[in-house]
């Protein structure tokens, strides 16, 4: 069963080089297909500019795909701005990285958590007050914090408040975009535990976007690794983090500093990730790839199943039941 699916989705922006330059199309997301089942978490990892946040915005229906289609609960994603789209917004919610930026500094926490209930016309006044109290309790915020303003809360408490607001309309899917990246380790652990508890209790599906592989491994049932707008490896997190097959996943996993001995030999890549407006030919990773061959500069590899069933987009990884 599928809750959300993206089929061959691309998102193209036009940018200009300089004031009088010609518009250049930038494929922020390029031919992505993925799906999320109810109550499950799909983690998306990758570095800045790889298109993971754009993928999240397309999944939320805030951005229209330039190509491909988005299906949510069996129906096509409605056009932004239409009444159908507005009704559906309550079923899909965003948990952003910076809670302070996502809140209104002049409104109390209770007012902000209540707002989605008013917008979606859920309950009457006293009913809503009860719901707000229950939501704050669910995310572990003390009742006396309800009348505080965002600046009076700590970073962890703010992230809890944003989560309470996202949960107000009882969403089926949360898109979490770097939800714990700004938090200290001890607070990060509190929020991660809360997210997994809430998922268990309410059966919410999550699209969990992060650059932190340790956190993604902790919460995800499935993982997609992105590089320059495309998924390069997709599958079981245990398999990908223990034995990454794509050379980029390998470099990314090996780059994570860990206390104690490491299992995968470190691969230090040369150079920076390329500009998406200036995409290398063939496999976009080939200029930095330690094992690239001539074909990599010419043909873009398709995402296809490898021996253990995970999907890999690399010419050098043998496909399931065939040769590379």
């Amino acid at each position: 069963m599928t809750l959300l699916s993206l089929d061959g989705v691309s998102r193209v922006y036009a940018t200009r080089r300089g004031i009088i330059g010609r518009p250049v199309p930038v494929r922020a997301v390029d031919q992505i297909s993925l799906s999320v089942a109810p109550g499950r978490t799909l983690g998306i990892v990758g570095e800045s500019g790889c298109g993971k946040s754009t993928t999240g915005r397309v999944a939320l229906g805030i951005e229209r795909p330039s190509e491909g289609s988005v299906t949510f609960q069996g129906a096509a994603m409605p056009t932004p701005g239409t009444p159908a789209w507005r009704r559906m917004r309550g079923r899909l919610q965003l948990v952003p990285q910076d809670p302070l930026g996502a809140m209104d500094r002049r409104l109390t926490i209770a007012t902000q958590v209540e707002e989605p209930l008013i917008i979606h016309a859920i309950g009457d006044k006293s009913d809503r007050r009860d719901r707000v109290q229950a939501l704050l309790r669910d995310v572990g915020l003390r009742a006396d914090l309800a009348e505080r303003h965002p600046h009076e809360l700590s970073g962890g408490q703010r992230q809890r408040a944003v989560l309470a607001r996202a949960l107000a309309t009882d969403p089926a899917l949360l898109v979490c975009d770097e939800p714990v990246s700004a938090l200290d380790v001890s607070i990060q652990a509190q929020v991660i535990n809360m997210l997994t508890d809430l998922q268990e209790a309410r059966g919410i599906a999550m699209l969990f976007i992060s650059h932190d592989l340790k956190v993604v491994r902790q919460v995800s049932h499935e993982v997609a690794v992105m590089y320059l707008g495309r998924i390069v490896e997709h599958g079981d997190p245990e398999a990908i983090f223990a034995d990454p097959l794509h050379p980029y996943s390998r470099a990314l996993v090996s780059a994570i500093p860990v206390p104690g001995p490491r299992r995968i030999e470190r691969v230090v890549l040369t150079g920076d990730p390329p500009n998406p407006a200036d995409r290398p030919s063939g496999c976009a990773f080939h200029p930095r790839c330690p094992v690239a061959v001539a074909a990599c500069a010419v043909t873009t590899p398709d995402l296809r199943p490898a021996a253990d069933g995970r999907l890999v987009a690399c010419h050098l990884v043998p496909a399931a039941g065939g040769t590379a």
Partner: protein, 322 residues
Amino acid sequence: MTSAPLVSIRDLRVAFHGLPALRGIDLDVAPGEAVGLVGESGCGKSVTWLAALGLLPATATITGSVTLDGTELLGAAPAVLDRVRGGRVAMIFQDPASALNPVKRVGVQVAEALRLHRGLDGGAADAEVLRLFDQVGIPDARRRVHIYPHEMSGGQNQRVMIAMALAGQPELLVADEPTTALDATIQAQILDLLRRLQQETGMALVLISHDLGVVAEMCRRVCVMYAGRIVEQAPSDTLFADPRHPYTRGLLAALPDMVGPRRRLEAIAGGVPEPWNMPPGCAFAPRCASAIAACDAAIPVFHPVAPGHDAACIRLDAMVPE
């Protein structure tokens, strides 16, 4: 420690508007040594070095002693500090783009450091800038010296900052979260570079980070800070294999693993105490599962666990190896 320390910090205390930020730091850095300072936001790991180098605003009250090769730095004349900062002790920060001057070419900025600290000018300075760019791994250095910070990536800007830090031939490099703003693969490049430079130049390195993994890989010795004090110090292998302070244990248990079975994270309950609401004794006691009444009586001092391994906890007898 066999050799005399390069930098010696004794009972360093800093307060802002009467509120304590540092509550008594003792720390030695030996020549050529790599020391890590870890802790969460607000624990004082950056303030320690900003105070030591006289970089805090006048509103800060600073007491204690910081000596470099026996010379007192706290309250030293500006002329003395000018020779130390960027010369004998260099510092790099988290956000290289804001530490660089956006309207000056990067080569000019590095040349300025060479003029100030080594008296190099003209052709000699130009040649040295090129050599430094090569040393920090900036490709196509001859062209890159003429571009502006906004034309470079975050990783390249951090390399420029490191080149500038090396310009003064420092005996100590203080790197304050040098890779926090960078992507994972770029972080690996910069850590590699810092490790290589430390070997090549023999300079000491103080690495300030919230990332236990980064510190574990880079440093021989690690100090864990909490609420303005060092609560545990040990060789890094020992610290991660056999942590003794309840806070260090809590930090490691809160960190998701990259290998092994997934387990529920053990979060440390509550939050860091506010400076205006410091507990009377051990600052960690309100969050500590092993706390007893005596923990509130006095601020705990270091108790030896093993040679080179100390923890500031009166409950060490209960903190047996796991």
